[in-house]
Symmetry: C2
Subunit: 222 residues, 2 copies
DNA sequence: AAACGTAATTATGAATTCATAATTCAGTCA
DNA sequence: TGACTGAATTATGAATTCATAATTACGTTT
């Protein structure tokens, strides 16, 4: 028997959690904006019940803020949030790097290398969009390689939160070059299965990204 | 003007999230059990809407599992979950230890020392309950000391999840003694504001707890 | 005009209702 | 007796309704 087509997600609220989170992360719903319950219900064709269930989940994830009797607003991306989130993400990546060295098989490493090469090509072509996507895939693959669902879940949430700061737009040439170099180093360590080395590099890589973020924010705020 | 009494939590679902999570963590609702929606509604005196909202949040936190059209069950505490959670908690504690050295003031450190002394007294008196509570306070204070809400939130969730494994019941004498020694070392580093040292010790302390957990589980499963 | 007060409107939290999926239970047949 | 069938019952997901809080609109007063 052929592969049966995947069952569409069974419950509305699960689907809505992902859809709404995407709207927030993709900046379709802007920080500080009130979440337009009515419009969203209409555009998704659902009643308020599942939508509100989804909002409760999103609030617990930190993407929206609930105010009693005043509905939900899209959470702001504050400097403090980035200050808090990045060190945590960096440690999660460090752990992931260490574990990935242990658990990834050669094929898995090869797949990451391929994507890495594509990322470098995108860098050389100055294709920010392609770079961003390849970069995201690489980090995701390394996290997945740790074979730790809890680590993955917490990382995914935090990564989504900081992604809202949309840093790529004003990524400086220096930082971009530095990031590429860091990634080269990471690939070396991964091939050598140097767990501690890869972990440290991934942590440093993330803190470097953080520093660049802060610098860009400060420059923007002049 | 005197302190006005605190406003009782405004929304039912927020209150319910905490209450239900407690029922799960305190083992009043047993792993694998179906969550008795009806009974809970009656005993809390609320309708199904806010209770179900709370269940959605609890599902996203990993305390219950939702099955489409078959309601919610209390999540099992699997060995894999502990294997996944502990390394992550350990890294979060490491980070917290480092930051706490930076951000805690002398009064904060003194308060932790006091609680530490009480914990040691409980140990000498073989009072598991008092030990457990003091221990929990100390770890929480160190996490708080990091002054990082995101770190704190993620740690709190994971700590609650592993707490369900209720390890204290069969804490061995050797492990208990070792834990006390590790805590003594932590206090030394904290007073010295040795960030890296405290971080490493806290990580190791958590991994030691993890190892003892696993050992106890294996012994139990024979 | 600007500031205030009040009525009308809207939005929100929660209860209730409704359609349907899952489960239970009685009856049938081997 | 024990496995199967199908109706009755119950539980579940989602829509709808309802009471009330918040917001807006509109006069009134200075």
């Amino acid at each position: 028997m052929n592969q049966i087509e995947t069952i569409k997600r069974p419950t509305l609220h699960e689907e809505l959690v992902d859809r709404l989170r995407n709207l927030v992360v993709e900046d379709q719903l802007k920080p500080g904006e009130k979440v337009p319950e009515k419009e969203l219900c209409e555009s998704f064709g659902v009643s308020r019940t599942p939508l509100r269930e989804a909002l409760k989940v999103l609030a617990s994830e930190g993407f929206v803020v609930l105010q009693a009797n005043r509905g939900a607003r899209v959470a702001e991306v504050t400097r403090k949030e980035l200050e808090n989130a990045f060190p945590v993400i960096a440690r999660l990546e460090q752990l992931a790097g260490e574990m990935a060295c242990e658990f990834l098989d050669d094929a898995g490493i090869a797949a990451i290398q391929t994507r890495h090469d594509e990322m470098v090509a995108a860098y050389k072509a100055r294709d920010r969009q392609a770079y961003f996507l390849a970069n995201q895939d690489i980090h995701q693959a390394l996290i997945r390689g740790a074979d730790n669902e809890i680590l993955e879940a917490h990382h995914r949430l935090l990564a989504a939160r900081v992604r809202r700061a949309r840093f790529m737009a004003n990524l400086s040439d220096e930082r971009w070059a530095q990031a590429i170099e860091e990634h080269e180093g990471m690939m070396e360590r991964l091939h050598a299965r140097d767990a501690e080395g890869l972990g440290n590099l991934m942590k440093q890589h993330m803190m470097g990204k953080y520093a660049a973020h802060i610098k860009a924010m400060d420059a923007e705020a002049d």
